[in-house]
């Protein structure tokens, strides 16, 4: 039996971020989603429960709007959710998120294994998982693409430059997973109906010992620009000749 916690984040869907004519980012028509990496993490948790038995608890930290994400997460198979909710929880840095998750998890949810996505789809700091492991004082393996649990240990195949390293960790442990770990299901109508019957434990800021001060301050967020010449050619032979001449002129043909 395995009690699994899977952490997820409700993030801006970057596909809806527009760029204004002046080159600024326009968030006026954005929608939100469960961070894509976390959808795969949820799927991995649910499949592991199907293999080993036990439970899956989905945990998130976010503003009240993230309630929509909690329901979405539950429609993907977890048994229950824990939602640390506060208007200020939309703008936490990774150390704060880890601290809130850590307090919520140690007070509300017994576990053997914590699964996090490798990073979030918005900020992609890839820090919350490893920081949470340190906060809880448990072993950690990041960038895992295959997981098996047997006799109180988890075997994790993790991606490293050039090769795969197979690690064995004693439980309780934390892993962060790559999207390869599992392809997320598309919840059906029935899953969505079931989700609204599942338990959601809400935790307010006042129930936590403390939310530590931030360690990172964002000074600005601006549109990334790649400035290029944007010269276009057709597929006609004459144009291909001009194209090759343009390459030659730039000195990039050896």
């Amino acid at each position: 039996m395995l009690d699994i916690i899977v952490c997820f984040k409700w993030v801006v869907d970057e596909a809806f971020i527009r760029r204004t004519s002046s080159g600024d980012l326009d968030f006026s028509s954005v929608d939100y989603k469960i961070s894509e990496y976390d959808r795969n993490a949820i799927e991995a948790a649910v499949r592991l429960r199907e293999e080993c038995g036990g439970s899956v608890t989905a945990v998130t930290v976010g503003p009240p709007e993230a309630a929509k994400g909690v329901k979405d997460a539950l429609s993907r198979g977890p048994d229950r959710a824990v939602f640390a909710e506060d208007p200020l929880f939309g703008g936490l840095d990774p150390s704060q998120t880890a601290a809130v998750l850590g307090q919520v998890i140690s007070s509300k949810t017994p576990f053997n294994l914590i699964i996090c996505g490798e990073g979030s789809g918005d900020v992609y700091s890839q820090q919350t998982g490893p920081r949470l492991a340190e906060f809880l004082g448990i072993p950690c393996a990041a960038y895992v693409q295959k997981l098996t649990v047997k006799e109180g240990r988890v075997t994790a195949e993790r991606k490293v430059e050039g090769f795969i390293e197979v690690d064995s960790l004693p439980l309780p442990a934390l892993v962060t997973v790559l999207p390869d770990i599992a392809t997320p299901r598309i919840p059906g109508v029935k899953d969505t109906l079931m989700a609204s019957k599942k338990a959601v434990i809400k935790v307010g800021k006042n129930e936590l010992t403390a939310v530590p001060p931030p360690l990172l301050k964002t000074k600005s967020v601006r549109a990334a620009r790649v400035e290029r010449e944007c010269e276009k050619f057709t597929a006609e032979v004459e144009d291909i000749k001009r194209f090759v001449a343009a390459l030659q002129k730039r000195g990039v043909l050896k």
């Binding site: 971020i17 760029r19 980012l25 990774p94 150390s95 789809g121 900020v123 992609y124 890839q126 820090q127 998982g129 490893p130 920081r131 340190e134 072993p139 950690c140 393996a141 990041a142 960038y143 993790r158 991606k159 490293v160 050039g162 090769f163 795969i164 197979v166 690690d167 064995s168 960790l169 004693p170 442990a173 530590p212 360690l215 990172l216 301050k217 964002t218 000074k219 600005s220 967020v221 601006r222 549109a223 990334a224 790649v226 290029r228 010449e229 944007c230 010269e231 276009k232 050619f233 057709t234 597929a235 144009d239 291909i240 000749k241 194209f243 090759v244 390459l247 730039r250 990039v252 050896k254």
Partner: protein, 319 residues
Amino acid sequence: MAGVWVLGENREQLFELLSIGRSLADRYGTTLVAFAFQDAQAARDCIAHGADRAVVLKYKGQEGPLDVFLPAIVEEVKGKDPDMLLIASTYKLKELAARIAERLKAGLCSDCIRLVFNEGEKSVEMERLMYGGSAIQRVVCLSRPAMATIPPGTFEKAEAGSGRVKEGDVDEIVQTHESAVTILERKVRERESKDIREARTVICVGRGFEKKEDIKLAEELATVLRGEIAGTRPVTEEMHWLPESRCIGLSGIQVRPDLYIGLGVSGQIQHVTGLRDAKVICAVNRDANAPIFGVSDLGIVGDLYDVVPKLVDELKKGL
């Protein structure tokens, strides 16, 4: 005590960190210290390449998980109080950096691509990508030390200077703790041929290719240009037409060749992020509105199956 400290898994990573580390150390008016794992020669080479001091982190026995050094590194930082820690963004070091940061209660800028010294505040403002590469976030650490992980390939390598290495410049820290993690096995991921990071010319295969066999078209172009083949995320990680080690983009590798040619590459921002430092970007795509044309120097609007053979012929004539 103070200092700018750099930590990398190999020489190349360390030399890159030493070049940016040197400029920051000079601005802080402090020393530059390099940390290498296990390899004392690499540590000495760091001094030749600009470090004032080098430390080799040594395993007690066999090499194992990097977190055996976690307590020693944290103690060393607490004792010597460096201004800044710069760590190579490899899979393992990204994890280690976050864990060091958590133990130190330090802020960490992940995958930092630019560092700007703020003279007035004596702080470093760091830039990184967010929202899938569509935005640049500028952050400062509110902690001491400030920490950043830096993707390999972001900075030029520091050059070696002569006569820098003296006896006794390399200190040793021996592993103090055991890891809870056991490494069972190391499996070769796939044939790792020439690293596309080093290639001067990169031909990138996108979803415009209809089937795996057609990649030979791209290979013909690569042969005549003496370039390397790379792919977008769908082609590598999803279709597995090319090894993942050849994936360019946010989830893969950042390249900075002289010439990049994207064939049937649409130009999703996650991919484009991986080639922003290429000298000349070219694209072949039959969709005139494909976003790749907006970030290309030279674009051919046409079907790659028609264009590539013509291009190969034309290049053969000129070379």
